[in-house]
């Protein structure tokens, strides 16, 4: 790390309601995991947004490279039969 006085960066994931999955909401700085959860509570759940918080250090996330966009994602763009749009999902099934 270039400057050891800077707190590490954490990515924050919040679950909005039971049954939904955690969604990435943003990032913040904190000294350790517990501190990051507390900060996430104060920064990202002030308006009743969440029932659960996950944090992970940004450096621990492996990401795809933007330059690989073509080979990674374009082959899927003409395969519409993979989309489940030909089915009617009953309301009782809830969020998919």
């Amino acid at each position: 790390m270039s400057n050891s006085k800077e707190w590490p960066l954490w990515e924050v994931f919040i679950r909005g309601q039971h049954g939904m999955s955690h969604r990435h909401v943003g990032s913040l700085h904190a000294t350790d995991a517990e501190h990051a959860i507390k900060n996430a509570r104060d920064v990202y759940t002030r308006r009743n947004e969440g029932v659960s918080i996950w944090v992970v250090q940004a450096k621990d996330i492996a990401a795809s490279s933007p330059s690989d966009k073509g080979p990674l994602f374009e082959p899927a763009s003409d395969k519409i039969y993979r989309h489940p749009t030909f089915y009617d999902i009953p309301d009782e099934a809830g969020n998919m």
Partner: protein
């Protein structure tokens, strides 16, 4: 003054004065995350103030509102303990004061949940959830900074040395306390001292901080006998709008 009114002012003014002091950090805290956390704490305390002073105004029955009590009383009418009105100084002292207060508030509000006065029990139950989070956060920060670098340890030690003589005021006892106790509205504050002390001592021990031997206690705030010179300056800022434009609303 009715003892119940006096008692409610003590609760409300503690929350109001600490809430205002904490809000002074808005936009200037050492890290963005701490800034918003302090603002949240300040808002929690101001929210509690509305409940306490709202009930106080009702009990007084003189047609005043919570806003009137907050913005139109002068220094000698305030009933907060002195520790809460001393200036923030630095982040270390702000966090230390919050911790010393939270360590009292948690057992105090827990006890008030059993109050014979249902309105007080309801306010306490709502405030307790906030106080529990405040204590968790402030205790953790006291340990992180006390047990941090030489500089942070030194600042936390000097914050503790300044604030310690103010902590005794929590546990003083007068006719108001006796009346509340007899009516089963509130416990005697001194009965909470063992729990407060055990929280404080174990946290400060983890934080590598030493408590001074002195048992001297500043007092006068909760009875209104005497405040520090700082409260007047704070109220001048806090009340300037209502003082300059009486009745202003938006």
């Amino acid at each position: 003054m009715k003892p119940l009114f006096e008692f409610l002012l003590r609760q409300g003014d503690n929350a109001l004065v600490l809430g205002h002091r904490t809000s002074e950090w808005c936009g200037t805290a050492p890290a963005l995350e701490e800034d918003i956390a302090l603002a949240n704490t300040a808002l929690d305390l101001i929210g509690q103030t509305q409940l306490w002073l709202g009930y106080a105004a009702e009990v007084e029955g003189a047609g005043r509102s919570a806003d009137d009590l907050a913005y139109l009383r002068d220094v000698y009418d305030f009933r907060n303990i002195l520790m809460l009105e001393v200036p923030n100084e630095d982040f270390g002292r702000t966090v230390m004061r919050q911790f010393l207060f939270d360590a009292f508030q948690v057992p105090w509000l827990t006890a008030l949940c059993e109050s014979a006065d249902e309105h007080i029990a309801a306010i306490a139950a709502k405030s307790l959830k906030e106080a529990l989070y405040h204590l968790e956060r402030s205790a953790e920060t006291v340990v992180a900074l006390g047990d941090g670098t030489d500089d942070s340890n030194k600042r936390m030690q000097s914050a503790l040395d300044v604030l310690w003589p103010y902590t005794g005021e929590h546990f003083l006892q007068d006719d108001v306390d006796n009346t509340m106790f007899k009516a089963k509205i509130a416990p005697l504050p001194v009965s909470l001292k063992p729990e407060w002390e055990s929280t404080v001592r174990s946290t400060l021990n983890d934080a590598n901080l030493k408590i001074t031997d002195s048992t001297f206690a500043h007092s006068g705030g909760r009875t209104g006998f005497r405040h520090t010179e700082h409260l007047g300056h704070m109220l001048a800022t806090m009340q300037v709008l209502q003082r300059s434009y009486p009745g202003a609303t938006w």
